[in-house]
């Protein structure tokens, strides 16, 4: 599977409170959550984001709360993939469990810039910045996690 889109770039320690503020956690509607995605760090994000776009951030992305509403809001906003130097562990689990593709690649996370066009080949883990022409190799998922993804998420893998 491949995805391609424009990059929305963020820095270190993007926490789940800015991804989806708790004042919106009185709903589990994906559409309502998506309408407020990243609101407290970039008010205009929901207006700019286009289906297929890619989010790139640096270290410890998704730190803080366990709210699955965070990867749900990102996925429902149209983002096709999140690339970061590192992910906070609960966000990492949640993203895999709900089927939001994520990739850890420190060099790509640092070098790719806001507005670049980036494509990702999930079968090889190769990230291509089409604006600069540079390619990056992301860490592959362990086989155990690849199986969860292949089966269509955690619940389908256990039932």
């Amino acid at each position: 599977m491949n995805v391609k889109g424009k990059v929305h770039k963020f820095g270190d320690n993007i926490d789940t409170d800015v991804i989806i503020p708790a004042r919106y956690l009185n709903t589990s509607s994906h559409k309502e959550l998506a309408a407020h995605c990243m609101e407290d760090i970039d008010k205009d994000f929901v207006n700019k984001v286009q289906p297929g776009d890619i989010m790139v951030a640096e270290k410890n992305f998704g730190c803080g709360s366990s709210r699955e509403h965070a990867p749900i809001a990102i996925k429902a906003s149209g983002i096709s993939c999140v690339i970061a130097s590192t992910f906070a562990r609960i966000f990492y689990r949640n993203a895999i469990n709900i089927g939001l593709p994520i990739l850890e690649c420190d060099q790509a996370a640092k070098e790719i810039k806001e507005g670049d066009t980036v494509s990702v080949d999930f079968s090889t883990g190769v990230i291509t910045d089409e604006t600069t022409g540079k390619t990056y190799q992301a860490e592959p998922f362990p086989e155990f996690i690849q199986n969860i993804i292949k089966k269509g998420g955690l619940i389908k893998s256990i039932m």
């Binding site: 709903t27 590192t86 562990r89 609960i90």
Partner: protein
């Protein structure tokens, strides 16, 4: 190769003689937890996937604590969904208004978690129960749903950082100061994916509430779990309370740690985290007397809403008044703590000082309700996160501190060393 405390608990629950860091395992769960924010998402997943039964209705806890008593119609609708699910599947530990308290104070208090148990919770501060010698970690709602269905979860066995605590803390240095100091030292991702294992002769000076506070904030260093060995303090707390069978695990002599830190508790000072990350710490000695003016003080939460926390705050506030222009909100974490505090006369102290006392709720900690900040306002708070917008407006600020520092600050109107009040 030896195992850490965390690795031994995971191995035992996976039916393995040993595990090593990085290994992927499937383990049996003793407790699966959710709250009024995360359970609805888990229930949606459970139902959308056609599940028709739970693995064990006595090993699931659903605690309605974040937006309860319900703050609005949407919150009420979410709790109604969870209540209906709990009724349908006869969930034994469904806790609603009247019985509920803040989940991470309530589960230990009710004896639903204890030494050696393996618990997952759809709340990041589930790591709190490591204070009792449990392996306990936060997960998301889909993991909670899978846990409710199968009674199992997958784990990547964590490596560990060892914190050897030595010495005796000075007056006004609490568990909160210990963990804020550690987070300041290693950073908000300093223990990413790892266990934080606390040990050493200094832990005997930490009461159970201090330990619950320390383990609670392991997640703020990115950790998978925080854990203490079981000693007499733990046994005194859990005996006659823990509903399971306690099993005490100790780390092997040759257990391998990624890093080992020795922390002299005697040298720690009351510590405050400045906005907007828990790692931005300063001791009270590094903060000017009128440097940080506050508008609000919150004393409560799963981190610091326990009885010894309320006693520490009351000791400072006794006979004094909350400064003009400061709102001081005290939130006992459970109904039992509420009653104990009332019977001990702590509410007289708080209310005579001009503070308010709330029913148990997570409320303002996550910017839910019951103490939201306007643009430009600042709070000193005994909670656990000071991210942008955490307690309200994106242009508000949260300073994390112990109950003693928070109470002293409420009295002066500025972040203050409790020794100076």
């Amino acid at each position: 190769m030896g195992m850490t405390m965390s690795q031994k608990i995971l191995a035992a629950h996976a039916g393995l003689d040993s595990v090593k860091a990085g290994q992927l395992i499937e383990a049996k769960l003793d407790m699966v937890l959710g709250n009024d924010i995360t359970s609805p998402v888990a229930i949606n997943v459970f139902e959308e996937n056609g599940a028709t039964s739970v693995f064990d209705n006595s090993k699931i806890a659903m605690v309605m604590d974040h937006f309860t008593p319900n703050k609005d119609i949407k919150a009420a609708t979410q709790v109604k969904q969870v209540r209906n699910f709990a009724n349908k599947y006869d969930i034994k530990n469904y806790m609603d208004v009247g019985e509920m308290g803040i989940e991470h104070a309530l589960l230990p208090e009710k004896g639903l978690v204890g030494p050696g148990c393996l618990c997952i919770g759809a709340d990041s501060h589930t790591c709190t129960y490591g204070a009792l010698g449990a392996f306990s970690t936060g997960v998301g709602s889909t993991d909670m749903a899978a846990g409710m269905i199968s009674g199992k979860a997958w784990f990547k066995v964590p490596s560990a950082i060892k914190f050897e605590l030595v010495g005796k803390p000075q007056k006004y240095v609490s568990g909160k100061d210990v963990i804020l100091h550690i987070i300041g030292m290693i950073g908000v991702d300093g223990a990413l994916y790892k266990s934080m294992e606390f040990c050493g002769e200094g832990i005997k000076y930490l009461n159970i509430d201090d330990r619950l506070c320390i383990a609670n904030m392991a997640i703020e260093a990115g950790a998978k779990n925080g854990i203490f060995p079981v000693d007499d303090v733990t046994r005194d707390y859990c005996n006659g309370r823990y509903q399971g069978t306690p099993v005490e695990y100790t780390a092997d002599e040759d257990a391998v740690y990624d890093e080992v830190y020795t922390i002299d508790l005697g040298k720690l000072r009351p510590t405050v985290s400045f906005p907007h990350l828990p790692e931005n710490t300063k001791t009270v000695d590094e903060i000017g007397e009128t440097e940080v003016k506050i508008d609000q003080c919150v004393i409560g939460s799963c981190t610091n809403g326990r009885i010894t926390d309320l006693r520490a705050a009351a000791e400072i506030m006794k006979g004094k008044k909350v400064a003009n222009g400061v709102r001081c909100i005290v939130i006992p974490a459970t109904q039992k703590i509420w009653l104990d505090a009332m019977h001990e006369g702590l509410f007289d102290i708080f209310i005579n000082a001009g503070a308010v006392v709330s029913t148990p709720t997570c409320g303002p900690c996550l910017g839910g309700y019951m103490g939201i900040l306007a643009a430009g306002e600042r709070a000193v708070s005994t909670t656990n996160r000071n991210f942008v917008g955490r307690m309200g407006h994106v242009d508000s600020e949260v300073y994390l501190a112990s109950p003693a520092v928070a109470a002293a600050s409420a009295v002066t109107g500025y972040i203050t060393d409790p020794a100076k009040v």
